[in-house]
Symmetry: D2
Subunit: 141 residues, 4 copies
């Protein structure tokens, strides 16, 4: 399971991540996935391709909460592209306890390359597509 | 679209809900949906059926981000059950700008009636099923 | 107590504002004060005086937590200037339960008019000083 | 400066900690201090002295924001007791960039040993006082 992911981020659960149920709040898992997404962007050098008015935007996100988490806990979150289209790609996230194979949660989000001025999607830069394809062994298309 | 929802909550976007992109952060939409879920629980009197070790837990959540939001903004969030099973139900959320028909985002979450000690699902109380069925006109089953 | 404040904001406590102690998290009170500060800025028209590289920055903040809060709760937060200097002013916040005289918490923050490029303080625009003086009956100086 | 602190915590700034100004949000510094406080509690074994209805509560908090922070950044936060009274103590926090002597922010909070049922302060357990005195070289009293 873990070997599917090439881009990784270690996350320390903060005490303040817990809610009144005494567990890590559901919305916080999306913050963890966001941190992993930013990490993935760094790994594929996405920022080099961003322009003032053109860049990534997330159009949907989902998460399956498989285990309840509490502070203290160290997590390892993997991210990988599982689909690469003309102007968008889908990232999948795996949240694990440090050094464990047990999947605590898994999530996904669709990232659209966006012209923020025209408020419309636009083609992903070829060099960025190549980096994503290289990293995650995706067939482009 | 709006008339589908019987349970509603008004939410003021806080300045601090925005992230470094200058828009409401994606994870915050899940907090909005959480607030609407808590509201839905109030409307169907869910807390009357909670026991010390038995209650609702969210096993999955998703959201489609259709419009970018900024402070200041007043939202109206509707929640409704769209599926009712033996031990779980699915809530759907619609996030609207105040007084508008435009869907800013929509989400869903699966709520499982959980025996927290046994760490397993358990049957929804009949009276709670009846309230959900009544409110949202679901066929039980 | 309440009549000291001219600028007001109503805040709904969100369920997710609570932490593992089952009370509103301490850090969240600073978010409430931040919301009230933004409201104060709106009341005195601060944004008209902001430039690309010149604007307000908060250099210190404090809060006294007098009552523990839980969801559901509606708060009214007042903000007022209590000191106005050449390049900074001090805001004081009063957090009340809706319709109540009871002070749930009070806070303060020092706002410095900042040249972000030079990374130094700079004189407050005269028109902004006048608005603050007018609103809160401060003797300028 | 750093050698004053015996209890330390490493904190990774999360991308989501930034607000619409593109800097770490002010309220988030209080979350960092909270994490350091929880760490301090662990170092002095505070939880051994907690009872169901008796434990610590924070009655005030303050922070001086000396440097603006952005993601990515690794922080080291130190905590120490600077005052120890009959039923309360004051913690001071120093937030540093990893491996740097530069103080990014400093804060303080007053922790009161509280009987939550009686809603009043109560004497700190002697063994806890001893641990705090030992760790931070405070003269008890």
């Amino acid at each position: 399971m873990r070997e599917r992911f090439k881009a990784w981020l270690k996350i320390e659960v903060r005490w303040g991540d817990m809610d009144a149920f005494g567990h890590v709040n559901n919305a916080r898992y999306f913050t963890y996935c966001e941190s992993a997404r930013i990490r993935y962007f760094e790994v594929v050098g996405l920022s080099e391709h961003q322009r003032d008015k053109v860049g990534p935007s997330v159009v949907s996100a989902s998460c399956n909460f498989r285990r309840q988490l509490r502070y203290p806990e160290t997590l390892e979150v993997g991210a990988r592209a599982v689909r690469l289209g003309r102007s968008s790609f889908t990232l999948e996230y795996g949240i694990f306890r440090e050094g464990s194979e047990e999947l605590v949660a898994d999530g996904a989000s669709v990232v659209v390359w966006t012209d923020f001025e025209a408020e419309s999607s636009t083609a992903l830069p070829a060099a960025l597509r190549a980096r994503i394809t290289d990293l995650d062994g995706l067939r482009d298309g």
